[in-house]
Point group: C2
Chain length 318, copies 2
Amino acid sequence: MSSLDLAAIRAAHERIRPFIKLTPVLTSEALDTVCGGRLFFKCENLQVAGAFKSRGACNAVFSLTDAEAAHGVVTHSSGNHAAALARAAQLRGITAHIVMPTNAPQSKVQNVGSYGGWITFCEPNLNAREAACASVAARTGATIVHPFDDLRVAAGQGTAAVELLEEISLLDVILCPVGGGGLLCGTAVAAKALAPDIKVIGVEPELADDVAQSFRAGRRISIPTPATIADGLRTNCTGEKIFPIIQQSVDDIVTVSEENIIVAMRAVWEKLHIVIEPSAAVAYAAILQGKVPGAGRRIGLILTGGNMDLATLPWVKS
Amino acid sequence: MSSLDLAAIRAAHERIRPFIKLTPVLTSEALDTVCGGRLFFKCENLQVAGAFKSRGACNAVFSLTDAEAAHGVVTHSSGNHAAALARAAQLRGITAHIVMPTNAPQSKVQNVGSYGGWITFCEPNLNAREAACASVAARTGATIVHPFDDLRVAAGQGTAAVELLEEISLLDVILCPVGGGGLLCGTAVAAKALAPDIKVIGVEPELADDVAQSFRAGRRISIPTPATIADGLRTNCTGEKIFPIIQQSVDDIVTVSEENIIVAMRAVWEKLHIVIEPSAAVAYAAILQGKVPGAGRRIGLILTGGNMDLATLPWVKS
């Protein structure tokens, strides 16, 4: 795939439909009252393997030719893409090699194992991850499926926005958590094609603002490994394939504090009665923190995932 | 209403449809693998006000004549029925008087307040609750809407099973948490009318097994106030109106341990990525504890609610 457009996202949707869930869009009278608008939460925490990543991973794996697929796939990931790729490979009956950072949450490591992925641990930084991934690919002939800088992956991720817009009409804004930017890229392309007036706004932790910095600078900026609680958003730098699309299609990228991520996460657990991981909470945190006005607007929020260790909770003193 | 049948439940469904959500049915590949069957979770924790109780409360409130409604409604409840009745009354523009036990969870007290209910606290036992409720009714002329021994309420609760059976075909069993028995009563009547071969099994905590005892004895048995973690199921005795229907329509009532309730609750949080309260976990606990075999069967489980204090969790040592 050399470009990303609605047709590619529609094709991805048809390809992956047997392997993913049509996730519900939830609302909360209580949260609507707090913000004075209407909030529509697209619950990708309820997706298979607990995250939107199943969409992109399935599209990448089922796009391979049989000859390519025979050598398996390989990726590096902090967790959700890893589990999603392992599951997709298992569904196709091929091998998934997964390079994971040593600080990945235990629940995410277990998820990869439960889907039969072959795990290689590495240091928690981008260079180590990419080196380990390249080494496995060279040894096995496996196809690298990058967690975000891959247009097949981004096309798959864009299918969540398609479903959201097919179910909920007249949205003013879509808020999208940003790690490397794959979901943001697919979401923006889908949304702008289906509803040109919609604003697509990415949300990053202040501590992991590489894509926000890049967006303002007009060039890809790399940052040291971020320490944010939002483990799914700890990327160093956005991708060269997706960044031009983000620049062209996204309206803004805002950042939120660690404190607001935790408050937002707890509010979603309490009022929507669902478990979301910290990375998924940044979208609602942007409203809580006043970065995106909610009053009088219809806002879609993509809740990206729900995989986390429940032995400790950020608001419970240990 | 002098009897409960599918027609009454269908009528309730039409009456309450504008005021409740069609809740999703969720599945988990991981939980299916553990039990060897297919589990279909009807997510009433995602219902408005966070529990199935909105169904019965809306049916009762919108069944009143204008003359009755003018005096308001009154009930006693450990929490979810209270919030649901307060919300239903607010929607109809009438007063809801709520008698709550002093040990009700703070989150449930806040829910009642957020819907404009007038709260009266009382001692946490059935006699005190009923006395306070009767006193308010005598003073105000409000209609008593009993939390479970009311056929309008039971008809509303039965609509969850109707939705489950319309969405998921060929269920072998429906597992239903049992407090006073209103949900069980409505579920059994709906399920047996729609799918006569289905088994309807109630699940109670071992520590709150009043309905299980009554079911075996063939007469209503009262127990001291139970100490189970499942605060929504702390009833002393089932109701005289609903008990004959339960005897006639329910196949069995099984009990589960406190330990298995907590393990089941955590598994649902981790694998389904939703927040359920302890009371809702008893249905899956029955499978975990081997009280209801899961292998090779298609089992519907009603997850009754998701309201709980998130400051402490039963599996996190404080």
